[in-house]
Amino acid sequence: MSSIIDKFENLDRRILLWAVVICVTLPYFIPVGLPIPYEPWVLDAIDFMENEVPDGATVLLDLSAALRVITELEGGMQATGWYFTQRGFKVVGTCFYPDGVFEWYNFIEPEFIKAGYVYGEDYVFLGYIPGESTGVDRLAKSIRDLISVDYEGNKIEDLPMMADIDKAEDFAFVMAFGSGWTPGSYITNWYLPYGIPIIPFSHMYGLSGYLSSWMAGFIPGTICGVRGSGEWANYLGLPSTAVTMLDSVGLGHAIMILFIILGNIAMLIEKYGGKDTESIGGSP
């Protein structure tokens, strides 16, 4: 028995990793259909967009998410693009990561085209702007002063939609996708000086950073990671890879917790169980 406990306490990591890999990939073949509880910060973000933003409002959509987190945010991006078209939002897109260009053309613009949006009248893409937090600050002060042409090469002043849009106060809110602290830069440079609401849409890793802003009332809510993307897509009733991934995340966590608990039980049995008499020094 003690050899089993020893083996478990000093478990080869590869066994643990294989167990997690199997649990994470299983839902792709056998849908599990775990219940999806909504996190309060996601509900608050949805509540803000549904009840406090009028139809047809102008929104800044920032896609500053690195490609390495695309699997987490892809479903959320598509859901966001679809939702914006349902509400008739006028969308100005930009990115402070070059990967945002890829994300725009692969996940956002297809939704706009499907909904019959016209470029220049319903949506505009400003493209990649270098200089993360500096660029965010400059964008808030004046778009025209920062860039003169959009990503397609059209002059900003020639785009009908941009006639009344130049600075932060012209937007109803900002939806900021990010894998770094770019959404946080919007809080510092758009919300604090101008009062523009920001909804950070980050990877799971960034959740803890934005929770304190949510608790302080700086942001109406936040949607983070696979979990947030899945909840957002599920709320909108959209079939999405994010919803499937929620099952993977749930099972992966479950197997991790099981191994951690079993490892601790093995450690405690070894510490307080049969080996005590030997450790004192006397023979049984």
Binding site: L16, P37, G131, R227, M256, I257, I260, G263, N264
Partner: protein
């Protein structure tokens, strides 16, 4: 002349000028402050864009030098260093970066070859590398969540409770897990993060002031 330009006082004066106008624009609404801060920030963005070219060129130079050293197998000033025998990897880096720039410049970044390289090579590599992080998390969690001491036991209880809160299984096992886990997340975790964030912000301001005043000798320019 170059020694005059490299004097520490000139660097500090430039830093003070830039910092003052960017900061004053936030506190005092005046057209001259806004215009000057916009001008300063434009230069920041321009320099940031130019560093891409600098990075590319220096990357070519460095990788070429490392390939030469690696192929020389023990000769030269870097003999015995970690780069001997690594010429293949430096060569791959060189070829990939030159090819990407060449395709982008000649065919355009919207062209099929460039988009193919971005979508099917770079994106997949980036995602695969990010997935390594998951493996490290698993290994670290398994090692760290051991109740060897009282503090470690508290860490274990908090960690497992929060994991069960964010997991649908947790609520199914016991309805109290989400309540306790939310308390840990919303009060304990956020409170401590705010404390650390405040301390870091305080340190950032102090360091910035020390650098501007030239008290951080290592990083102030001037060739002391």
């Amino acid at each position: 002349m170059s020694s005059l330009i490299r004097r520490k006082e000139i660097t500090i004066a430039i830093m003070l000028f830039c910092a003052f106008f960017v900061f004053a624009d936030r506190a005092y609404k005046a057209p001259i402050l806004l215009d000057t801060s916009k001008w300063v920030q434009k230069w920041v963005l321009a320099i940031s864009a130019v560093t891409m070219i600098v990075t590319f060129i220096s990357s070519i130079i460095r990788n070429t030098r490392r390939i030469q050293t690696s192929l020389s197998e023990g000769d030269g000033p870097d003999a015995g260093s970690s780069i001997v025998g690594q010429w293949f990897y430096y060569g791959t880096t060189l070829v990939a970066s030159v090819l990407t720039v060449a395709v982008g410049l000649t065919m355009g970044i919207q062209s099929n070859p460039y988009q193919w390289m971005y979508q099917y090579v770079f994106q997949n590599l980036a995602t695969a590398i990010a997935s390594f992080l998951g493996l490290f998390y698993i290994g670290a969690a398994f090692r760290a969540f051991r109740a060897r001491t009282a503090e470690a036991a508290i860490l274990l209880i908090c960690g497992v409770t929060v994991m069960l809160t964010t997991n649908p299984f947790g609520e199914a096992i016991w309805s109290g897990f989400p309540v306790i886990g939310s308390w840990f997340l919303n009060w304990v975790s956020i409170g401590s993060r705010r404390g650390m964030g405040l301390a870091s912000s305080v340190g950032t301001v102090a360091l910035a002031i020390r650098v501007i005043l030239g008290y951080e000798r290592s990083v102030s320019a001037g060739g002391e």
